[in-house]
């Protein structure tokens, strides 16, 4: 690891910056996003969903609802926004993508596979004995997996340290941390949010998968953290919220959050739909841990294909471009 000769001097005045006038809207919102770019990401999202179904079928059950809901965000990240090299997963020059929610592992393996980290065949080893793809993602098992998940509420704190480390090294790379709406219940998440705001970690982008789902039921019924963007803003963050299943909206938001100037950490609240893309799973009783019967998998693949074809055929929404 190359450490710069002279570490940058810590900022003279730590502490959250004084509130500024609302920052100018970033370029991406105004600049029309190239439709081909969006179409390419949508194709990737489709393959990430397919990769997720392949893994979940090995188990017959699991976190398939989450993998389907987050596929659009992961497609934007892993095929557009993140600087990553599958041949050099530990490259000093990479953006750091951290999955705080270990149970979303199958979604991450699906995305890493789409990004050419793994051969397609390996997906079928998901959560089997001696696989590189354990059910909960762990740094010690899988190239490209930056942190160990499983115990929720750890990710954002680690992201702070990595963001600090990158700054010390003079790197202009970003840390992306994907967390869940459930993790907003953990005090550790808000401790970390305060630290990020105080230390002005403007190279940190958090993404919250707001699928309104937790283990015991709907997040908003159980422990409502709304209004979430206001809370992050009060902690010194730049916060945006969008439909997390609209590729164009997610892309625009993530471009904006990377480009926007201002000494603040950034967060995107992505409102997603559990089971997105497979209508009978979207409509099923919302469950953290979903069971899909043997005979349903072929139908799931077929439905996914149809909904993707319908999406591609539909005109792009104006407001997202």
């Amino acid at each position: 690891m190359s450490t710069p000769q002279t570490p940058p001097v810590p900022e003279a005045s730590a502490g959250p910056p004084a509130p500024q006038a609302a920052s100018a809207p970033a370029s991406a919102r105004d600049t029309a996003l190239d439709p081909e770019r969006i179409a390419r990401i949508q194709e990737a999202a489709y393959r990430i969903r397919r990769n997720s179904l392949i893994q979940a079928e090995v188990q017959g059950q699991g976190y398939i609802g989450q993998a389907l809901d987050i596929a659009d965000v992961l497609a934007v990240l892993f095929t557009d926004q993140l600087r990553l090299d599958p041949l050099d997963p530990e490259s000093e020059d990479r953006d750091r993508f951290q999955l705080s929610i270990g149970h979303y592992a199958l979604a991450l393996y699906a995305a890493l596979t789409e990004a050419k980290f793994f051969p397609l065949e390996e997906l079928e080893t998901y959560a089997t004995d001696d696989s590189r793809f354990p059910m909960s993602s762990m740094r010690t098992y899988t190239p490209g997996v930056e942190i160990s998940g499983g115990s929720l509420g750890h990710g954002l704190g680690i992201a702070n340290g990595v963001a600090m480390g990158l700054k010390r090294k003079g790197s202009d790379r970003f840390v992306y941390n994907l967390l869940s709406d459930g993790e907003l219940g953990e005090g550790s998440t808000w401790e970390a949010a305060a630290v990020a705001g105080h230390h002005r970690l403007d190279n940190l982008i958090a993404i919250v998968d707001f699928n309104d789902q937790q283990a015991d039921g709907k997040s908003t019924d159980m422990l409502s953290m709304e209004p979430v963007t206001d809370k992050f803003e009060a902690f010194g963050w730049i916060a945006r919220r969008c439909d997390g299943n609209d590729v164009a909206a997610v892309l625009a938001a993530l471009i904006e959050l990377r480009e926007i100037q201002g000494p603040r950490p950034r967060v995107l609240i992505a409102d997603t739909r559990l089971g997105k893309g497979v209508d009978f799973l979207e409509d099923r009783e919302k469950l953290h841990f979903m069971r899909v019967e043997k005979e349903e998998w072929a139908r799931a693949h077929e439905t996914l294909k149809q909904s993707h074809e319908a999406l591609v055929a539909s005109p792009q929404k104006d407001d997202a471009r």
Partner: protein, 328 residues
């Protein structure tokens, strides 16, 4: 991949520990707690987004006004339990063992144990009862907690232990921690005319050649091993000690000194659990017996399928039998 024999898979949030065809009781904690709550209006339940996975949904659904959903916030869970106990209620708070012991330790220690409040923690996934990996495998929870003054620690074998423990935990004054088995839980000990008594170890069966001092679900495996070995003419006694703290030293000492091969069996790291409790009992009294620990290694365990891992770490019934044969 698809052409080879399918490998075993981890399963996760939904696995039951019962074997196919075994006699089981559904959600024994939930039903026992509901019954206790009907009899004592001070009893309340709380969970940190794991009611459904710790069987507290039985209480939640039957008596919603007696249940608090805290959300996924284990420190706040124990904080709320503390306050309720201070106001004279008897809280049963549930999460997974790893989160109660690792995340919320300080709250448990200072707010609950130091104040000696009647807060009862019921915590699932003790030891190796999930193949999910170290984040969910509470392999060292007893080691963490045995050093905590005032705390009673219970590691039940089966549904019978759990059902009978609940009213006793509620009735005992100070804080308690129970390692919970959830879902379809095996019924084992009723066949032996056994009943649970907080703080007591019980000789479940006698045998002249081997003594297994066991706790938790390892008592079931010890009994299975004993039945198998009996067919080869090896007599195995099983002393079940579901209460790990305070530890029933007298019953252990009474079982020793009979020239038997002595082992401990626990669903926990060999560091800091039952084996250590037995060892300090012996050393403290100057008893020089060799004791062989059967338990989980002092290591972070692999992720994988439970049967694979139970064999790998030597805690399956087959491996217990193998070990005893080696030693005899």
């Amino acid at each position: 991949m698809s052409t080879t024999t399918p490998k075993l898979t981890s399963g996760a949030m939904s696995v039951d520990i019962a074997k196919e065809g075994q006699r089981t009781v559904a959600a024994p904690l939930g039903h026992a707690l509901l019954e206790a709550a009907r009899e004592d209006e001070r009893i309340v339940g709380l969970s940190a987004d794991l009611a459904k996975y710790t069987d507290l949904h039985i209480l939640r659904d039957a008596m919603p006004e007696r249940f608090y959903q805290i959300g996924m916030a284990e420190q706040a869970l124990l904080g709320a339990a503390t306050g309720l106990a201070m106001e004279g209620f008897i809280p049963f708070a549930s999460t997974y063992s790893v989160f109660a012991t690792r995340r919320a330790y300080d709250f448990l220690c200072l707010d609950i144990a130091e104040a000696d409040l009647n807060v009862n923690m019921v915590c699932a996934l003790p030891g190796l009862t999930t193949g999910y990996g170290p984040s969910h495998q509470a392999t060292e929870d007893v080691a963490i907690l045995r050093g905590m003054p005032n705390l009673t620690i219970v590691d039940p074998c089966d549904a019978i232990d759990i059902q009978q423990a609940v009213p006793q935990l509620a009735a005992s004054d100070g804080p308690t921690y129970m390692r919970l088995l959830r879902g379809k839980v095996p019924a084992v000990l009723d066949e032996y005319g056994y009943s649970f008594e907080l703080g007591k170890a019980t000789m479940i069966r006698e045998g002249g050649d081997v003594l297994i001092i066991s706790t938790g679900l390892m008592t079931e495996r010890a009994l299975e091993a004993a039945a198998q070995l009996e067919k080869d003419g090896v007599g195995v006694a099983v002393l079940h000690s579901p209460t790990l703290k305070p530890f029933d030293e007298e019953s252990v000492v009474a079982a020793l000194g009979k020239g038997r091969l002595v082992l401990t069996a626990e669903n926990h790291s060999v560091v800091g659990g039952l084996f250590d409790a037995v060892a300090r009992t012996l050393v403290g009294r100057g008893i020089g017996e060799r004791v062989t620990p059967i338990g989980l290694p002092d290591a972070f365990l692999d992720a994988g399928a439970l049967p694979t891992l139970e064999d790998r770490y030597g805690v399956s019934t087959a491996k217990i039998i193998e070990r005893i044969r080696e030693l005899l």
